[in-house]
Symmetry: D2
Subunit: 125 residues, 4 copies
């Protein structure tokens, strides 16, 4: 292999995101900065860090750790982000982020047949 | 299939993005809004629209078409985005966006062995 | 751009597949050839061809169009693949493949909480 | 969240593969079983296991560990797969698989401008 180019590096670097997040965030009243924080959380999770700190997230963005903390709080209040407890291999409870509320929102809204279910969910809530 | 849920919709909705874009944009002095415009261009391209208008992009964002035009111009000046000419099936020349300069920047910088090449490139520039 | 290398080509070439398909197909008693036919159908769909012919699929594989027809029939009998009718833009009914039964099978089986639902589904069927 | 469905599980389960692998393997005289072994190696790598054993791979396939060993040897002889040495965090040398020769083959062949380079490579070989 005399290539001066590393194809495998590019192939392995690709990650998957829901394209509906890009199409819907503005409708959901999320700002570009909030979406970038969401994408960083998703990326950290895919890399095995399920509870990145505001400092870890902020270092990849133009915002300060303090503003990142504020955005994380907003995302929780807007019912986009959730903090869950999970058991690790040693049965120790640890906290982790879940983006489940976001995925529910963008995918349920897209699926006409589930309209009825959504209304039912909302009445239960 | 009595499922009230459409798995195929979610499977088909997933799109691929370079994770290094998320890790590097701040270093490259790109703002969150600029990255979102880049991601929208990438998404439009994957969907078959290789030259989305500022209006088409802006409708999915919190920015106006005018600000979107400004950002597109900035991305070209920063050597992130390129307008190319390509021939369609009927041999008509049409314009399309290319993100090649961005991918070159993020992947060359990441590949130690190409350090020498990069320096050579820079001397040529 | 004097690069002798096209990064954008690689970035745009990447496609998304459910990793559980790779982990589960043997358990589901699917052969390697059947999975490759499934992956080809999925790829054609992502490229906009929702009802590829046995000839179109077979040309990318080591099997003949006749054997491909046989495999497609088997996949339908195994409740992995479905032929659906959909309306195109001109309200004309056309046929298309759906892999929904496959995704239901691999994802429902993976989700412990839905065990009860599955049993309920089966009783209804 | 009263949803009986786990969207996040599906979102997180998606993995990326080069679509040219599906389009080219038959031309490259690879069988469906060989491609599935390649996809399993790629999946293991993305999950952090860079040197899966024949047993680990075979358990997800219809082939025996012995046949898997044979296929791995064939892939190396066909210059598709490579065993590399890499240093882990503790400076210990470990072996790992690299699919770089495969990616070079499918992507260089696709890029007309690199035709010359390929011929040069072949002469050196």
């Amino acid at each position: 292999m005399t290539s001066d180019f590393n194809y495998q590096q590019i192939v392995k670097d690709q990650m998957v995101i829901p394209s509906l997040l890009l199409k819907r965030y503005h409708q959901l009243k999320l700002s570009e900065t909030e979406v970038m924080v969401i994408l960083h959380i998703h990326r950290f999770q895919m890399e095995g860090n399920t509870f990145p700190t505001p400092e870890e997230i902020a270092q990849f963005t133009s915002i300060s750790p303090e503003d990142c903390t504020k955005i994380l709080r907003q995302l929780i209040q807007k019912n986009i982000l959730l903090i869950e407890q999970e058991e690790d291999e040693k049965q120790v409870l640890t906290e982790c982020y879940s983006l489940e509320p976001l995925w529910v929102t963008i995918y349920k809204a897209d699926y006409p047949a589930s309209q009825a279910n959504r209304e039912a969910d909302q009445q239960q809530a």
